[in-house]
Symmetry: C2
Subunit: 177 residues, 2 copies
């Protein structure tokens, strides 16, 4: 701990179209060539934890975008391409045991990415901070950011930044009493 | 036209708990006794259009909260309590014919309220402006604000206000090309 989420969603809460495509994100006008706070966020992160679906999406980007250790949660993947073997590690087991193992290597600030992975962490109340960027579009359907977890979790609003293109980025911290 | 939405949702996009309760909204600390922009919003509204579920929820509030004409969309309701007969009118038919009939009485700026009603208007691209207030809580489940409409709708971000208690209120206008 702590575990962070940094993600963009449509106004209706989707992180991708139904086919997994995220091209609607790159269609947003970005005259200031903003990184939408990503570099400030990622510099405090020690490692990235994602699911297999997100990992396979990242592989389609062409070049590997991360300079941090990446852990891919998967029980089906057995190995990664040898070009990535120093960058990516496959892990499985309970989220608690995965976290404990990663934290024990002094990797403390974790970036939790991918819809299903974020949802499984939220179900166990294992997310500490969320930075959510709202794109001013209703997609109408797609892959949702949140799922029915059945548990209510209160957050504190830290701050909100507005970016050109009408992106509203809010930073929330989990309140635990 | 234009049709407005003014609504509060949880971070995971719910407007009420599964049983319809909205008590979590009144639990938000409100030291400034803010109306969260409601009075500024409602003074520009000519009439309110809602579904039966929302109407029946409003009836539980004890006193009638609106000083504008209210239209309740319902094919099952036949009449309203006589105390409300000058305030509430039951309408049915297509959304277009309902709107046309209301607009013809010089009631132009309509406040569209209630989850299902908002969703049915969005499905026909009949919402022009949305003022959405995000409450810093994940409810975990409940009645969603948005549904799968299957159509993509682009909006322009007008402004965002932050209220004490960590409420983030963003105003969006539909972009029609």
């Amino acid at each position: 701990m702590p575990n962070f989420v940094f993600i963009a969603t449509s106004l209706d809460g989707y992180i991708a179209k139904s086919d997994g495509s995220i091209d609607w994100l790159s269609e947003i006008p970005n005259p200031d060539n903003s990184d939408y706070g990503y570099n400030d966020f990622i510099k405090n992160i020690d490692a990235i934890l994602m699911g297999r679906t997100t990992f396979e999406k990242v592989l389609t980007f062409g070049s590997w975008p991360y300079d941090k250790s990446v852990f891919v949660i998967s029980s089906s993947l057995k190995s990664v391409d040898k070009k990535l073997k120093d960058k990516v590690e496959i892990v499985n087991g309970s989220l608690e045991s995965i976290m404990k193992s990663i934290n024990s290597r002094n990797l403390i600030n974790l970036y939790i990415d991918g819809g299903k992975t974020i949802q499984s962490f939220l179900k166990k109340d294992l997310i500490d901070e969320m930075i959510i960027t709202k794109i001013p579009v209703l997609l109408g359907n797609g892959i949702p950011m949140f799922s029915d977890t059945g548990i209510e979790l209160k957050f504190e609003h830290v701050n909100t930044n507005i970016f050109s293109g009408g992106l509203v980025q809010s930073h929330y911290k989990r309140i635990r009493n």
